[in-house]
Symmetry: C2
Subunit: 163 residues, 2 copies
DNA sequence: ATCATTGCAAACTGTTTGCATCAAG
DNA sequence: CTTGATGCAAACAGTTTGCAATGAT
C-alpha cells in the first residue's frame, strides 16, 4: 500500500538536514516538533502539540515550544496560520496552497483549488471611480483561498443531533 | 458628487431600525459602535474603536464595547474577521465579499474578485485516491479569498526606507 | 418594580519574557 | 569556557465575567 516506507532514521535525518540548512541546531525540542508535524500532516495548535508530545512520552514545556515555534517560523520551516475562528495553527507545508476549513471544529486541511485563475483582480466595493483609483495603487502579492466547509465528522455529529 | 446626502438623523434612524429589527435596544453604546463602522467603512479592531470613540468625545468602557460587539455579531449586524496576522477586526459589510489585506500594517478593505468561478473544487495535497475520497465527504460552503498585498502607504514607507 | 445596560475591577486564555540551570560545541 | 537551549514562574495582551450602580419600560 505504501510504496515508499520511511524509516525513522530517514525522517530523522531529513529533519536534521532541514534544521541545519537554516542554521538551527537540531535539538531534541525542534526535532520533536518537526517530526510531529511532518508525520501527521496536521495543522496543530500549540496546545495540541503540547498534548501530542506529552502523549508520545516526549513532553515539552510551554516556553520551549513557543520559543521554538517562533524560531521555526522565522527561519521559514513552518508557517503560522490563523483560521477564521482566530485560532493559531502551524503548517509544515511550505508549498503555496489553500485551505479547507471546518466551520464547526476549525479543522484545516491543505488543498489545491481547481479552476482558480492565475490572476485575480480586486474590484472595489462599492464600485466608484475614486475607489477604483485608490485600489489600483495596492500591490497584490498572493491570493489565499479559504474554503469554509463542514468536515465529515462534524456532519455526522449534526445528523446524530437532528435524529 | 454625492447624489444622496445622508443627514445624521437619517443615519441615526437607520441604525435604530437595524437594532430593533434584530431585537436589540438602540442604546447609546450600540448606536455609537454601528455609526462609527457605517460611517468609516473601516475594519476596526476593538482597540481602534475605543480610541476612535474617545477621540469623538463619546468614550466607552472596554467591557461595554466587547459586550456589545459580541451581541452585534451574534445578532448578525457585524462580522468578526481575523486577518492572517491574527488581529481581530469587525466588519459591518454583511454582503458576501473578499478582502484585500496589507501584509505590513494589516489594513483590510472589502473587494469583489474578478474572474472567480462560481464553484471552486478543492483537490487534495498530495493527490492520492484515498485523500480524494476523504475530501469528497466535506461539504463546501463558501470560498473566501484573501488577497495579500501591500497598501499604498506601506509601499511609500518602503520606498522612503530604501532611498 | 423589573429587567437590561453600563463600567469598574478581577479573572482568564494564549503567548512571551526573565532568569537560573543545563547541555553542546 | 563560551554560547545556546531548556523550563519554571512571572509578566503580558486581548477578552470575558462578577457585580454593584444606573437607566429604561
Amino acid at each position: 500500500m505504501a510504496p515508499v516506507m520511511r524509516l525513522p532514521t530517514e525522517r530523522g535525518e531529513d529533519v536534521q538536514r532541514r534544521l541545519e540548512a537554516v542554521g538551527l541546531r537540531p535539538t531534541l525540542a525542534r526535532r520533536l516538533v518537526l517530526e510531529l508535524l511532518y508525520e501527521t500532516n496536521c495543522h496543530y495548535t500549540a496546545e495540541e502539540m503540547l498534548e501530542a508530545l506529552r502523549a508520545r512520552g516526549t513532553p515539552l514545556s510551554v516556553a520551549t515550544l513557543y520559543q521554538n515555534l517562533r524560531q521555526l517560523v522565522e527561519r521559514g520551516l513552518l508557517r503560522k496560520v490563523t483560521g477564521p475562528d482566530g485560532v493559531v495553527r502551524y503548517d509544515a507545508n511550505l508549498e503555496p496552497h489553500h485551505h479547507l476549513i471546518c466551520r464547526r471544529c476549525g479543522r484545516m486541511v491543505d488543498v489545491a483549488v481547481e479552476g482558480l485563475p492565475a490572476t485575480l483582480r480586486p474590484v472595489p466595493l462599492p464600485t466608484t471611480p475614486s475607489a477604483e483609483r485608490e485600489l489600483a495603487r495596492w500591490r497584490v502579492l498572493a491570493p489565499h483561498v479559504e474554503l469554509e466547509a463542514i468536515c465529515p465528522s462534524c456532519q455526522e455529529q449534526e445528523e446524530a443531533f437532528h435524529a
